[in-house]
Amino acid sequence: MTAPTELLGRIEGNFTHAVIAFLDHEGYPMSVATGFTIVPERGVVVLDAVAGAEASPPLDREVNVVFSHIRPQPGIGYDERRYISLWGTLHKTDGHLELVPERTQHWDEQEMSFFEFSERGVPQARRYMDRLSAETGTSVRPRLSTGWLFLRATRLPFLSATFVPVALGVAVAALDGHWHWALAILTLIAASCVHLGLNVANDVFDTLSGADAANVNPTQFSGGSRVILYGLLSLRQMVALMLGFYAVGAGIGLYLAISRGFWPLFGIGLAGLFISVFYTAPPFRFVHRGIGEICVFLGFGPIMTIGAYFVQAKAWSWEAIYASLPVAILIALVLYVNEVPDRPGDAKAGKRTLPVRWTKPTVIAVYAGSAATAFALILIGAITGAIARPTIIALAAIPLALPVYRGLQEFYESPYQLMPRMGKGVQLHMATGLLLVVGYVIAIIASHNITNPPFFLR
């Protein structure tokens, strides 16, 4: 709660009138508008007197004085919502009424976004629905359609993080002359299941650790799916979903291992599964220890790409590993930037991510350095032939890194203004990855159609 004197300073100039609310002799609330003056040095609100016996506020009991403002937006509704509510007893002086506030409550959407304001109401929402459940004898829970709920609970759109490294592994293998489309699809399904299992596990363990509840600034890219927190799904349902995804992923992975080379693929699959499960799960809880980025780098980079390559080619490939490094860095940076708005909640829950540990300048410098490294790897790889030379077209994605970098500089403390820049980070990873794949496709087409392709198409 803000100190009344400080709050009083915000009233004049921001509100046109006050509303005095009190209880009348029948116990009904009565509310009446009036003019006001603020005397901040005395911590007093001076209200103009009101005429009429029924409209005159009492002097012997608590009243509520409210200042409310909106700005109409024709054809839309309104914005600039703010209100300040004060409670206290009125005193009559020189034909005016004076209030020394004893309690206050306020909200200004320019200070606290509507999303944060809403998030702070989640415990009240849960209490209300629990009370209603008890009153009605039926479970009252919020609802979403099955499709939307599945999308929200699994964070399905983030599957691009899996699609890119798998496609890259398959593309590198295809350039080496190995192409089995059915195996490529099975690889993608298995990797997607492990990824979705990870997303759901993240929610389960962040609920158990209190990290999601402590975070009042979730965005569409951070703060988890919140389906458990909101009561859309139970913890038990999410655990079942998590196990289901891991079971399907592991089952397909086992099939691929048996049919394409057991020990290498078993090892790759096990490493991926281990990182996925213990990313947020105890006892390791990698993300709590500040190594979430390394896990994401490995899991959504070399592990998926070399795994996809091995399924196709039954062999290892340094090229596949090298090709995975830029996308691995960029997906780790997606997580890294997404952790920026989660800092307060993560810190409260003991989740010591890198943005929790580091200062703003360090976080931004590491972002810039890492993004530059990702593109330097592409440039060096394409020039030296460590990866297919047409992949140099992936450098075209560089401009997408700039809004993220500038967003971190400008909106480090403003989660909802940073949100579009976080989206750019996702696009940066996807665009770079897809351009790398396109580079490989160009090289594949050239190798099949030109007897001796020029060096820049190899």
């Binding site: 508008a33 909106i70 809403s118 909101y230």
Partner: protein
Amino acid sequence: MGVLPAPIEELLNTALVAELTVVDDRGRPVTHPLIPLYDGERIYLTSSVLFSRKLEHIKDNGKVSLSISDPNAVKVERFRRATIQGDAIVDDADLHSGWERVLPIWRQKEPAIDFFLGKRVALPLFFERGVIEIRPRRAFLWADGRTDVAPQVFELVGAGR
């Protein structure tokens, strides 16, 4: 012609915000800015479960008042102010879609609500809402908005029943 005097109905039909005062569990007034909706008989306000303390208070004590006071929030030829006292009930039998019965009136005042409703997946709890239905019992009208002049008082007992 509704149950309220025409000048007050006109205010209710255009007001983008009104101040709803309820009585809390310690018998103190608590005021909340909300969009008032009016169908000629009852006044409706909706509240998300996220901000549902007012719903709890009304369930415990249905005595409420609603003040239309903000000159920026109403579009009438001659500005005036009004307060309506009444008895409120909360309809929360179907939090998910029960409130949609007042959506046509809501939409007239805040067309953007359809856009937000389309984003329901992003704000699921915001659209779990109870409906506050107020049956007016007494109304006060300050014809030119000046409250240093005594209001006209309209007894409406029996109205909206």
